[in-house]
């Protein structure tokens, strides 16, 4: 029996704040703990210095919005560290992230068409 994916009204959440999108992006390939997530976002750059208050407040709001959830599963005890909290995308979060990506893609295509971006070779 094919699993029917629930559909959400994702449009009302768009556009996402850049940091929110980056968090969703960071979790796109699997669950991570907060610390690894923040390093990932920081590495992709674009935020200058990412300060703890700002990051964790945003993280909380993303949890509250239901885009991500705390994961119950944990890595083996040896590599675990009890201050680590693990997060993963919810189905809503995944759809919202996809919708935002499409929106950004459309924007980029449009920018290209209007010669705002040089065509890459």
């Amino acid at each position: 029996m094919p699993r029917t994916r629930p559909t959400y009204d994702v449009e009302k959440h768009l556009p996402l704040k850049p940091l929110v999108f980056q968090i969703l992006l960071g979790l796109a390939d699997g669950e991570r703990h907060g610390w690894s997530l923040v390093r990932d976002v920081q590495q992709r750059g674009g935020f200058g210095r990412l300060m703890p208050g700002n990051f964790y407040r945003t993280l909380r709001s993303v949890v509250d919005a239901g885009f991500i959830e705390e994961s119950a599963s944990r890595p083996a005890a040896a590599e675990d560290d009890d201050r680590r909290r693990y997060f993963r995308l919810t189905p809503l979060g995944e759809q919202v992230a996809m919708a935002e990506a499409r929106r950004l893609e459309a924007a980029v295509l449009e920018a290209r068409a209007r010669k705002l971006l040089a065509k890459r070779g």
């Binding site: 923040v38 208050g53 964790y56 407040r57 909380r60």
Partner: protein, 887 residues
């Protein structure tokens, strides 16, 4: 900076975040911050910059998260505001509509507002009085703990006697249920030195008096136990008002010396403005000290106050004081024969006597408001009739019934609130007027709160809204329940019969309320009349009175006291316009008193029939000046001095009680504690000494020369208005002694008036409210009759076409109006008599079913009702039959 310190500093910053965030993410946040610092170090940038960013970050995001709960409340509030907005929009639409309606009919609106203003204003004023003197707790900490104690003599039916000094000290020492207990007696003192000499009333109190009331001084201190020791007792505590008026509100007064009756006293403290004692004539306070080693047990003049220990009930305290009383009775069987201790909470003692008169007034103003509401309701009903079509049209274009009723209710509320606002103006004026008739013969606490204070304003708003619903309900119901289709089809003809019954019922109830009030007013007027006509035993017209107290420092001997009173008397005698002058130690109706046990020759007192009499020292002309008739024997003469044989005049009551069946002339008696015999030489008519409505007790008059006092009230019988002689009399007294203050200058008729001022206040107010009710009821009858005549104009036209005479038409209208008036009258009379039966205590020698009152109210109401019907009746007579039939 090492890692530990860094982490500690950062954890301080984390305090900006809510605790839940710190718990969940605190460690990760610290870790992230440290990595930022590390990055900066590696990049060679300033770590100071990272720190300042961290501070901004913490304040901004931490603060935002802390504000989250408030924000969510605001969001929820916003949601409900949106929901309410619809209702409010409807309401404001109705208000705007109402204002248009109101503006279209300014006369009707003004009439309604005025009517409501009278009703609401009167209620606000009376509630303000009730609030000030009944509802507010006494202005002391834990006021229900404050008690008043009295000596009781059940055999004589007396439960509020003052205590004797020896008993008072024993009560204080022997009780186990009071935290503190204290005695007080008013003592007039002459304040000299700073400005004109004035006589003021001081409260002489035992040291812990102010502890009973929980009063802290504004400056300095109150009394301590050694202040009562004779010799150390030259100290005074100033009341707030005299401190401000006489000493300029200067705090440096503490420690200075003032002269009280010629004796220097050191000011040790000033009381706060908030100290409110029932006897507001007491303006300063001195220690009460007993100069004799063994205080007397036979003179009773101390008012006793106490504060109960925490947890002690009134009943426990009563049992305790009963025990004390019984023990004292055992120890002093002679002095305390038949005596006990009675106690009551100060609240009950003070508020008890005024509760019932005030409640009667509350009822009276409530009736006035009810009548006002009926009138406005009637007014709106006639408007509603005219607006049936308008309402029907609005309904036809989609307004629901609830919406229409809501519109009517909104109109009522707008009218009610406007009436309430105007009522506040009425109340302000009424309160000023009421303050002038506030009784002076009843102790009241809290009169300074007799204003439009916030609690009163809330009452007014609530009352206005309640009145709106009351008078708006009928028209709203009437409009909402009508059949809209019929109305539209009928194009304006109204089902008069239904509304007529309703309106007639309204008028009848209105007249019933008014006549009930008039009965109450009439009965109090009659009571007051019979009070004024009471044989007082003296002639109060053309008598000027004033009091003089001799300072003990300058008039030490009884001879000196008698001499100065005599020389004042003879000087006053020379004044033109003065017919006769006399002095007495105790003036009737003035409030002070003195009583002694007497031994009557040949009559042994028994415990159940003690022989006591009230003592008055008088000069020879006293009975003559006061117009007190001598029934038997002779008045005092020049021979009745200290050297002559001791003589006495008794009043009629004393003669009948102690020498029943025989003439007392020539009989002898001894004053308690004396061995000398005094011979009765005269019997004087009874004088209503204690109040025009109070019974007479045994009284005896002694010549001042044989019974000297240091205080006297002079009475001058004058040819002209008594007040015209005040200045001249003062001059003569100051010619004798420039430092003698003259106090309580009053005509005897004013003294008498003051003694019945609470009855006068009750009578005046009930009369005003009764009059108001009558006017409103007459307006109501007029309105309804005018409306009925207008409705029946076609019927009247037919009658006239068929040959009815104008006079019979007039009779028709008058009959109808008077029938309503009589129905209301009958109901109201019965109610009035019943109500006044429960308030019988307010009546004096008048039966609640007094025929004169009933007849007067009947005549008054019928005359008023006829007047109200005549205008509509004349209009009915002038109906043009042709015109009436055509329309």
């Amino acid at each position: 900076m090492n890692g530990g310190l860094r982490r500690r500093l950062y954890s301080l910053l984390l305090l900006a975040f809510p605790r839940s965030v710190r718990r969940e993410y605190g460690r990760e946040m610290t870790e992230l911050f440290e990595s930022q610092l590390e990055d900066a170090r590696q990049a060679g940038t300033s770590r100071f910059q990272v720190w300042s960013m961290a501070i901004t970050d913490a304040l901004r995001h931490g603060g935002a998260q802390r504000a989250e709960p408030i924000r969510s409340v605001l969001v929820a509030a916003g949601r409900s505001v949106r929901r309410w907005r619809w209702w409010m929009r409807a309401f404001f639409h109705d208000v705007r509509y109402t204002l248009r309606v109101v503006a279209r009919r300014p006369a009707v609106t003004l009439l309604a507002i005025l009517t409501l203003a009278l009703g609401i204003g009167a209620n606000t004023a009376i509630f303000s009085a009730v609030n000030a003197v009944l509802l507010r707790p006494l202005p002391y900490p834990k006021p229900d703990r404050v008690m008043m104690l009295f000596e009781k003599r059940p055999a004589e039916g007396a439960f509020d006697n003052p205590a004797s000094p020896a008993d008072a000290l024993d009560w204080i020492a022997m009780n186990t249920t009071f935290d503190t207990m204290a005695a007080m007696t008013p003592a007039p003192v002459d304040l000299t030195g700073s400005g004109d000499p004035v006589r003021v009333s001081a409260g002489a109190v035992t040291p812990r008096f102010f502890d009973v009331f929980g009063t802290q001084p504004l400056f300095g201190r109150t009394f301590q136990s050694d202040d009562a020791v004779p010799g150390k007792n030259r100290v005074v505590v100033l009341g707030h008002s005299i401190w401000r008026e006489r000493f300029g509100g200067n705090s440096s007064i503490v420690g200075q010396t003032v002269s009280l009756s010629g004796v220097p006293h050191v000011v040790i403290g000033v009381l706060p403005e908030t100290f409110d004692f029932p006897d507001d004539t007491l303006r300063l306070w001195v220690p009460l000290s007993f100069t004799t080693a063994t205080p007397t047990r036979t003179l009773h003049y101390l008012n006793m106050y106490g504060r109960l220990k925490p947890g002690v009930t009134l009943d426990q305290a009563r049992a305790d004081m009963d025990r004390v009383g019984a023990q004292l009775l055992q120890q002093y069987p002679d002095a305390n024969r038949g005596h006990g201790v009675h106690l009551n909470s100060m609240t009950a003692q003070l508020k008890g006597p005024i509760r019932s008169p005030l409640l009667l007034l509350v009822g009276a103003v409530a009736f006035v408001l009810l009548i006002a509401c009926v009138n406005v309701s009637n007014l709106m009903l006639s408007q509603a009739a005219a607006r049936r079509r308008e309402m029907a049209v609005r309904a036809a274009v989609g307004a629901g019934r609830a919406r229409l009723a809501g519109q009517m209710l909104t109109e009522s509320i707008v009218l009610g609130l406007l009436g309430g606002a105007a009522g506040l103006l009425v109340a302000r004026w009424a309160i000023a007027a009421l303050r002038n008739v506030a009784p002076v013969d009843t102790p009241l606490v809290g009169l300074q709160h007799f204003t439009l204070e916030p609690r009163v304003l809330v009452f007014t708003v609530v009352l206005s809204l309640a009145a709106s619903v009351l008078f708006g309900a009928m028209p709203a119901w009437y409009l909402a329940r009508q059949n809209l289709n019929d109305t539209l089809k009928d194009a304006g003809r109204s089902p008069a019969s239904v509304r007529r019954r309703v309106r007639v019922a309204l008028v009848v109830s209105e007249i019933a309320l008014a006549s009930l009030l008039l009965i109450a007013a009439g009965l109090t007027i009659r009571s007051f009349q019979s009070l004024l006509n009471t044989e007082a035993g003296f002639e109060r017209d053309h008598v000027l009175t004033f009091a003089i107290t001799l300072p003990a420092s300058r008039y030490r001997t009884p001879e000196a006291q008698v001499a100065v009173f005599r020389s004042i008397e003879s000087r006053l005698q020379t004044l033109p316009g003065v017919r006769a002058v006399a002095a007495t130690s105790h003036l009737p109706l003035a409030g002070n008193d003195s009583r002694r046990g007497v031994g009557i020759e040949g009559r042994e007192p028994t415990p159940d029939t003690p022989t006591r009499a009230h003592v008055r020292a008088i000069t020879n002309e006293y009975l003559n000046v006061m117009g007190i008739r001598l029934k038997q024997g002779r008045p005092f003469g020049p021979a009745d001095t200290d050297d002559g044989s001791k003589v006495i005049i008794v009043n009629d009551t004393m003669a009948r009680r102690y020498w029943p069946g025989t003439s007392p002339i020539g009989k002898r008696l001894q004053l308690g504690g004396e061995t000398e015999w005094r011979e009765v030489v005269g019997v004087a008519n009874d004088v209503r000494f204690w109040g025009l409505d109070r019974p007479v007790n045994p009284e005896m008059y002694l010549p001042l020369g044989q019974y000297p006092t240091s205080f006297a009230t002079f009475a001058l019988r004058t040819d002209t208005a008594p007040s015209s002689l005040t200045a001249a009399a003062r001059e003569q007294i100051h010619a004798v002694d420039p430092d003698l203050p003259v106090a309580d200058v009053q005509s005897m008729s004013d003294v008498a008036a003051d003694s019945i001022s609470s009855r006068r206040a009750g009578m005046l107010l009930l009369t005003v409210f009764g009059g108001l009710a009558l006017i409103l009821a007459v307006a109501g009858i007029y309105g309804v009759m005018a409306h009925l005549v207008a409705l029946r104009s076609s019927e009247i036209g037919i009658r006239m076409t068929l040959g009815a005479q104008p006079s019979s038409i007039m009779g028709l209208v008058l009959r109808e109006g008077l029938a309503q008036a009589l129905a209301g009258l009958a109901i109201g009379m019965a109610g009035g008599v019943l109500v006044m039966r429960t308030f019988r205590a307010m009546l004096f020698e008048v039966n609640p079913a007094d025929p004169v009152t009933i007849a007067a109210v009947t005549v008054l109401l019928i005359a008023a009702a006829t007047l109200a019907c005549i205008l509509p009746a004349r209009r009915a007579m002038r109906v043009d039959p042709v015109e009436a039939l055509r329309s």
